[in-house]
């Protein structure tokens, strides 16, 4: 317990204060990148609001929030893994099974609903599916010591295969009171999913950014040796991150069923946008590290970008390309800055 009390403020200090960084040039560059990314966000919003009709309407903003809910929840799950595993794209934390997890969890929910089970049982089944997938990832990474990139890639294939077996590659329609409530509009005519995303982000951010456990996750991800030396349960924390991520996949599965009125094929296509969102989230944090709120901003950034493109009648074919360019810019900028810091 004494370790917790001593360690938490120290890490909080490092994670929160730019002045604690050794390289002054790196700090300036990091600040510039962060300010630049926020400016870019604002500039894009401004350009779209001036050029695209309806962009600033409450209904449209609500739509973007609602449309970002599923990818946002998944990206927050991935963010937790990125925090605990470190942000090295190859050897650090990554969970490639998240999109497939959402697909299988959605299929489980829709199947349970079709079999006549109530919402409570169907939600429990979907969340349990997500948890199990997270647990398999945790065992593969922490227990067997496989690099997360490979472990979760393998799990992704297994999960996608299971989804195919369960659904026979067809759509499973589902309609329940909970699904109807989730797909309806809430106050101000804004989709209920938008509120779900905001509440989920608040809870996740409170847990990850402001509890000792969350701070330990940062310690484990950034300085695993130091964390181990300080007596932190490194393996348990990393495993916990994968399980939390799996739970996010299960939760996103429920949201997906409500959005699509059932489970449908093609969930794997969510993977790239989710990885882009989580990695892009770093530029919205003070120290270029993954944060839950940064990921939310990033999800909204990508959401507004896609939405603005559509409102301006620009081909949706370009959107994937733009996402690719964004991830390339962000990963290269953060890599360069980190190298400078070292």
């Amino acid at each position: 317990m004494s370790v917790d009390i001593q360690l938490a403020p120290a890490i909080h200090f490092k994670a929160g204060e730019p002045s604690a960084k050794p390289g002054r040039g790196g700090t300036l560059a990091a600040s510039a990148l962060r300010a630049g990314s926020l400016l870019a966000f604002v500039a894009i919003l401004l350009v779209f609001s001036l050029t695209a009709p309806y962009f600033l309407s409450v209904g449209n903003i609500g739509n973007v929030l609602g449309q970002s809910a599923i990818s946002g929840v998944l990206a927050i799950g991935l963010t937790i893994v990125l925090i605990a595993g470190g942000s090295n794209v190859v050897t650090g934390g990554i969970d490639l099974s998240l999109a497939a997890n959402m697909g299988l969890s959605a299929a489980v929910y829709a199947t349970a609903a079709q079999l006549g089970y109530g919402d409570a049982a169907a939600v429990a089944a979907a969340l349990l599916t997500g948890l199990l997938i997270g647990a398999v990832n945790a065992i593969a990474v922490v227990g067997a010591g496989i690099v997360p990139l490979l472990a979760t890639l393998a799990v992704m294939n297994i999960v996608a295969g299971l989804e195919l077996v369960l659904t026979q590659n067809t759509v499973i329609p589902a309609s329940t009171p909970l699904l109807n409530a989730l797909s309806s509009s809430g106050p101000l005519g804004i989709p209920a999913l938008a509120y779900v995303l905001l509440v989920f982000t608040l809870i996740a951010a409170a847990f990850v950014q402001y509890t000792p456990t969350g701070l330990r996750l940062y310690a484990v991800g950034e300085f695993p040796d130091a964390a181990r030396a300080a007596g932190l349960p490194v393996r348990r924390l990393v495993a916990g991150a994968f399980i939390a991520s799996g739970l996010c996949g299960g939760f996103a599965g429920v949201l997906s069923v409500s959005n699509l009125s059932g489970s449908t094929t093609g969930s794997g296509e969510m993977l790239l946008p989710v990885v882009v969102t989580a990695l892009l989230g770093s530029v919205f944090s003070r120290r270029l590290v993954p944060t839950v709120t940064g990921t939310l901003l990033s999800a909204l950034f990508v959401g507004f970008l896609i939405n603005g493109f559509q409102l301006l009648n620009i081909s949706s074919v370009l959107v994937s390309g733009v996402q690719g360019v964004l991830i390339l810019l962000v990963v290269s900028a953060t890599t360069l800055l980190r190298r400078q810091e070292a």
């Binding site: 009709p53 309806y54 309407s57 209904g59 449209n60 739509n63 609602g66 449309q67 599923i70 026979q168 590659n169 067809t170 759509v171 329609p173 797909s183 989709p191 997906s256 959005n259 699509l260 009125s261 059932g262 449908t264 094929t265 093609g266 296509e269 969510m270 896609i306 939405n307 559509q310 409102l311 009648n313 081909s315 949706s316 074919v317």
Partner: protein, 337 residues
């Protein structure tokens, strides 16, 4: 339509009887439909109108032709198209529909899509006061659905198949998308026709075609099946509700040297029509829809609706069956030959 001419192996009386039975549904359906572009085109205008065009995907010949023709037709009639392509991703399709609804266009035309996924959003569009029309998807929230006559397509294809195999033998069926209405109608018509030929048997289990990688998957499934039925004559034909599985199946038959088996499909994709035209290829027939004409007709229907005309529930656009005898003629008619 030259299907009667191309049916030498079935007696004329059989054919007449069969046409009467299998065409019963068609007769009923055509009563509520009308033919393409009946009104004088010169009167139609979409000047100052914004028309949302939402396509499930444009990776298939049919989708792309219908999508492009719609965009061009809206422009030709003086309107502004707001066109979105979901790339066959249901999540993206729903998001795009939501954004389209927020833009409050004068009408939305939805091209294909899984009914259970799109229906709630088409309803929301209607609730928001936006008229919704569809192409090839019979939603209850759609004012008008422009489509091929799938009862006719299913009947023509089934009769051609039965005729080509001399009214007897095993047939393999790809039935992966029974949830998609046009596929279901075509399949039901096959079953209706086969019912009157007791020597024709649909092999169990039926195969399931998939998206994506349809061609490769059909190739693999048929190759495996040929190993299960190695004797020539043990399978007479392979049927699918669209022609991309037919493409994979035809390739598998050619690779395995089992060109005595004939393949059948729907849509008139150029690569499949080419195979039908090849006398050495096992591709037996492909019913060609006229997607560009379907697209144009749907937009003309929008213009009619906005001009205050009442639309029929369904508008049918003629489909052409291409078999070994007439494929060149059909290809020319489609403008892709």
């Amino acid at each position: 339509m030259t299907q009667e001419k191309a049916a030498p192996n079935v007696g004329r009386r059989d054919l007449l009887k069969l046409s009467a039975v299998a065409g019963a549904a068609l007769a009923g359906a055509s009563l509520i439909g009308n033919r393409t572009a009946a009104a004088a085109d010169g009167e139609l205008s979409l000047k100052g109108k914004r028309i949302g065009i939402s396509a499930t995907g444009t990776d298939h010949f049919f989708d792309l032709q219908a999508y492009n023709a719609q965009i061009e037709e809206v422009k030709r009639l003086g309107g502004e198209p707001i066109a979105v392509d979901a790339g066959r991703n249901d999540g993206k399709l729903v998001s795009q529909l939501q954004t389209l609804i927020a833009q409050k266009p004068d009408a939305i035309v939805q091209i294909l899509g899984t009914l259970s996924v799109i229906d709630p959003w088409l309803k929301k569009a209607r609730d928001a006061g936006i008229p919704v029309l569809t192409v090839d998807v019979g939603s209850t929230h759609s004012i008008n659905n422009t489509t091929s006559d799938n009862w006719g397509i299913g009947k023509d294809l089934a009769l051609q198949l039965v005729s080509d195999i001399g009214g007897e033998g095993n047939i393999v069926v790809f039935n992966g998308f029974y949830g998609v209405t046009p596929c279901a109608i075509r399949y039901d018509q096959l079953v209706n026709v086969v019912k009157y030929f007791p020597k024709v048997k649909i092999l169990e289990p039926e195969l399931r075609d998939v998206i994506p990688n349809t061609v490769q998957d059909a190739f693999t499934q048929i190759t495996a099946l040929l190993n299960k039925y190695p004797e020539k004559g043990s399978i007479k034909a392979i049927w699918s509700a669209w022609d991309i599985p037919q493409l994979g199946a035809t390739q598998a038959l050619t690779a395995a040297g089992r060109t005595e088996i004939r393949t059948y499909g729907v849509d008139g994709s150029p690569e499949v029509l080419q195979l039908v035209a090849d006398p050495n290829s096992p591709a037996g027939a492909d019913v060609a829809q006229q997607p560009a004409e379907i697209g144009r007709t749907a937009i003309q229907n929008v213009a009619k609706l906005l001009a205050g005309q009442t639309l029929p529930r369904e508008t049918y656009v003629h489909a052409l069956i291409a078999n070994k005898a007439n494929v060149n003629e059909v290809t020319k008619k489609l403008g892709i030959g």
